[in-house]
Symmetry: C2
C-alpha cells in the first residue's frame, strides 16, 4: 500500500472508532459544532440538555468538548502556577492578511486546501503564529478567548520533558541512572530495569494500553486513579497517579523502540521531583511561569494526593503556550536569561532514535520523525519539532523559518494521526512561506 493510502486508511480507522466511542452523534463539522452557538452551560442553572458534567462523562463527549476544553478548570481541582511580578512579555504585532489564503496539499490527499479551511477541518479553537517573535496571525474561535485556559493535554509532557532535560544539562538528574534509583517504589513494576533516558524518550517496554477509545484501557485506568476521569460506582482501584504507576507491568524490552505511553510522563514527573526535592508544580512555576512574562496564572490538574497530572493536566492561555515555544526557539534564552540550558534545547532539536521510532508503525503521518525529551522531532529540512496533545493541541517550532505556532483544538477524534493530514503540511507550508521573507 502506498504511503498516501496507508495514511488515509489509518485516519479513517481512528476517526471511525473515535467517533463511535466518544459520542453517539453523527459527526458535526466545526461550524455545526461551534460551541458559541450551542449554548452549553448557559442559564442559571443551565437546562439539562445544555449541561456539561464531569461525573457523567459528558465533559469528554463531542461536541461538548468544544466547550469543556476551554473551561477545563471548572471540572477539576487544580494547583495554580503563579506568573508573579515579572512584566508581561507583549509580542509585537505584524499581522498578515495573506496567510488565510495560503494553500497546501493535505497528507494522503490530492486537492489543495487553504490555511483558513484547515482551521475548520481541525476544529481549531485558537491559533497564534509567531514569526521572528512577532504575532503575524492570531485567531480565536468557538468559546476560546485570549484569557481562556484551554487544556493542553499531552503538550504538558513537553514542559515536563524540558524540565528533565534542563536538570540533566545542569547535572541535577542523571538520565543514565535507573528509574528505580530515583523511585524505588517502581522496583516491582514494568519500569524496573529502565533508565531515566528511556522514560524521557518513551522507549520503555511497559505494558500500558493507550487506546483512548477503550474504556478499560490502562490510560483510562490511570486517569481514574488520578481522578482525571470519572470513577465507576464502587471503584476500588489505585488512588492517585503514584499509586497506579507501580501496578504497571512489562511488555517487550526497554530501549528497543518508541512506544507512546503517558505513564512514562507521570513517572518522569515523579523522577524530577525525587531528583531535586522540588515538586513539579514548583519547578514549572520557578523555571517557566515566573520568568517568561506570562500573562496569566496557569493551572494544573491534581489528584487527591496533590500530584500534578504530568502527562496531561496543564491549563494555560494560547499566548502563554506560545511564549514557552518561543523561548525554546531562542535556544532557551529569554530577555537575557538562560531559562533552559542551551544544551537541553539542542538535545531536543537534535531529536531521538529515528529507527526506534519507525519500528513503532503507529504514526503513518510522522514518517522520518523521532521522539526526544517528550518532544516530537520532524527531522525535516527546517528542523521543526512539536509538542502534541490529543484532539489537536500543538506547539510547532520551525527554527529555520523563525516561526512558532501554538494551537488549541477540539477535534472529535483524540489521535493526532487524524488531525496531522491537515495540520503538518499546513505548518510546513507556512514555514516555507515565511522563510522567504
Amino acid at each position: 500500500m502506498a504511503r498516501k493510502a496507508v495514511i488515509a486508511a489509518a485516519a479513517l480507522a481512528v476517526s471511525a472508532s473515535g467517533g463511535q466511542a466518544q459520542n453517539d452523534q453523527k459527526r458535526l463539522d466545526a461550524e455545526a459544532s461551534d460551541p458559541a452557538k450551542l449554548g452549553w452551560m448557559e442559564g442559571t442553572p443551565p437546562p439539562a440538555d445544555k449541561l456539561i458534567r464531569f461525573e457523567d462523562g459528558s465533559y469528554f463527549s463531542f461536541p461538548r468538548t468544544r466547550w469543556s476544553f476551554s473551561n477545563w478548570r471548572q471540572f477539576f481541582p487544580s494547583q495554580p502556577l503563579h506568573r508573579g511580578a515579572t512584566p508581561v512579555h507583549v509580542f509585537p504585532r505584524a499581522e498578515r492578511q495573506d496567510i488565510d489564503m495560503l494553500t497546501f496539499t493535505p497528507l494522503g490527499g490530492d486537492k489543495p486546501m487553504s490555511w483558513k479551511d484547515a482551521l475548520g477541518a481541525n476544529y481549531t479553537d485558537a491559533i497564534v503564529v509567531l514569526h521572528k517573535g512577532r504575532i503575524v496571525y492570531e485567531r480565536y474561535l468557538g468559546v476560546t478567548r485570549p484569557d481562556s485556559q484551554h487544556i493542553a493535554f499531552s503538550v504538558t509532557k513537553s514542559f515536563i520533558g524540558t524540565l528533565a532535560a534542563s536538570l540533566a544539562a545542569e547535572g541535577r538528574l542523571d538520565p543514565e541512572k535507573l528509574v528505580t534509583d530515583y523511585v524505588p517504589e517502581l522496583a516491582n513494576s514494568g519500569f524496573a530495569g529502565a533508565t531515566v533516558r528511556q522514560v524521557m524518550d518513551m522507549t520503555t517496554g511497559i505494558a500500558f494500553d493507550e487506546t483512548y477509545t477503550n474504556p478499560n484501557a490502562d490510560i483510562i485506568r490511570h486517569a481514574r486513579a488520578g481522578r482525571a476521569a470519572p470513577r465507576p460506582a464502587g471503584y476500588d482501584g489505585p488512588d492517585g497517579f503514584l499509586a497506579f504507576l507501580p501496578t504497571i507491568g512489562k511488555q517487550g524490552e526497554h530501549g528497543e523502540r518508541f512506544t507512546y505511553r503517558s505513564a512514562n510522563s507521570d513517572t518522569l514527573g515523579w523522577i524530577v521531583t525525587r531528583a531535586t526535592g522540588v515538586p513539579v508544580r514548583d519547578q514549572l512555576e520557578q523555571r517557566f511561569w515566573s520568568r517568561l512574562g506570562m500573562e496569566q496564572d496557569a493551572a494544573i490538574v491534581v489528584d487527591a494526593q496533590g500530584t500534578p497530572f504530568a502527562a496531561g493536566g496543564l491549563m494555560l492561555s494560547l499566548r502563554d503556550m506560545a511564549r514557552f515555544g518561543e523561548m525554546m526557539r531562542l535556544g532557551g534564552k529569554w530577555h537575557g536569561a538562560q531559562i533552559v540550558p542551551a544544551a537541553a534545547v539542542a538535545d531536543v532539536v537534535k531529536g531521538g532514535d529515528k529507527a526506534g521510532f519507525a519500528k513503532n508503525g503507529a504514526y503513518p503521518t510522522l514518517s522520518g520523525w523521532s521522539y526526544r525529551n517528550q518532544w516530537w522531532v520532524s527531522h525535516n529540512d527546517h528542523g521543526a519539532y512539536m509538542a502534541r496533545g490529543i484532539h489537536g493541541q500543538a506547539i510547532y517550532i520551525d527554527p529555520k523559518a523563525e516561526m512558532v505556532i501554538a494551537r488549541f483544538s477540539s477535534h472529535p477524534v483524540a489521535g493526532n494521526v487524524t488531525i496531522d493530514p491537515t495540520s503538518i503540511p499546513a505548518y510546513e507550508a507556512l514555514g516555507r512561506f515565511l522563510a522567504r521573507d
Copy 2:
C-alpha cells in the same frame, strides 16, 4: 449577666462545641498547630498520616485546616477570575515596628494583650495593614505566602453584596422588588414574599440552620448540594446550589430581624445574574479583578452546574483582598475610575437596621452593630465596617483612621464570636493608634 460574662460564656460554648465536632484532638495552639512544621502533604506521595483529602473531610478538620485553607484550590473545581493586563497596583511600604507591641484589652477579658500575641490567639495565617494606602504591617505565618490563594469563606459575600449595591445604585437592580420577580423558581420557597433588599441585608425569614458543627444543618446540606462539602454515599439530595435554594422553607417573618443565613448570599448571586444576564464570575472579573491592579488571577469554587459559591467560594491573595478593601475605603474610586458607585459605598458605610440586628441575640461581640449589603457595620466612632468569614477571615475598614486590615486565619472554631474578643478590640486600638499620626 454582665456583657463581659455573656461574651465569655458564648465564646466558651461555641469554642467547646466547635472543638468537639470539628476535630477529635486536644486543641493545639497556633505554634503547636503550625502547618509549616507538621509536614502536611509533603512527600511524593504524602504518607497516609500527612495526607489531607476532600473526600474524607480531613480538608476541613483542624489542625489540617491550617494547611488546607491556604491550598483550597486543589480540593475544588473552580473558575478563574482573570486580572487581565491592568498594571499591578503596588502598595507603597512604610512599615512600622511599633505595632507588634501595641496592647489592647480583649472583649470579656481584663488583662491587656499585645497585637503580636493576638496573631497567635487568632491562628492568623496572614495579615496586612494599610494606612493611607501604604503597607504599615504585613506578616505571613504557617504555610500562607504572598502568592497563596487562601479561601475567603464569607468574605466572598461582601464582594457579592457590593456587586448588588452597585447594580442598585446604577439602576440595574431594584432592591424593592420581590426576589421572585427576578427568580420565579423561588415562588414555592421560604424566599416567597421577600424583597431583594431583605436578601441583601439578611432579614429574610427563611428556615435555614447555619450551625457549622451540626452535620445535618442546612448550611452543610446546601454545601453538599453545591459539591462544596463531601456527599455521603448514596446521596440523593439536590444537585447544585440553585437546586437547593428552592427547597428552603420559611420560619418567621421577612424584614423583622437580621438572621445570618448563607443561603441569602447564593440567592443574591442568582438575583444579580438574572437582573443583568451576566454571570457572577464575569461580574466579579469585570468590576473588580480586571480593574483593581490585582496581582493574581483569583478563583471561585463552582458546583457541577458551573454556579459560583457566592456565599463562600472566593480564593484570593491577601494583598488582593486588601486592594478591594482599600477601594471601598476610597469611596469606590481607584486610580481615577469609579469602580463602585459612591452611593453604594455610602449605603454600606451608613449601615443597616441596628434594632433588627440587636433582636438577633447571637452576636454578643457585636453590640450596636448592623448588617448592610452583606457587610458588618460597627457604628463605632470611627465608622468601621467589616467583611467576615468563618475561622477568622476578615477585611476591617476604619475610614476615620484611613486604615484597612485584611486577614486570613485558620482558627479551630468556625464562629467569629470566638475570634472577635482578640480581634475587634485589637483593630479598634490600631485604628486609634494610627489616627493619631
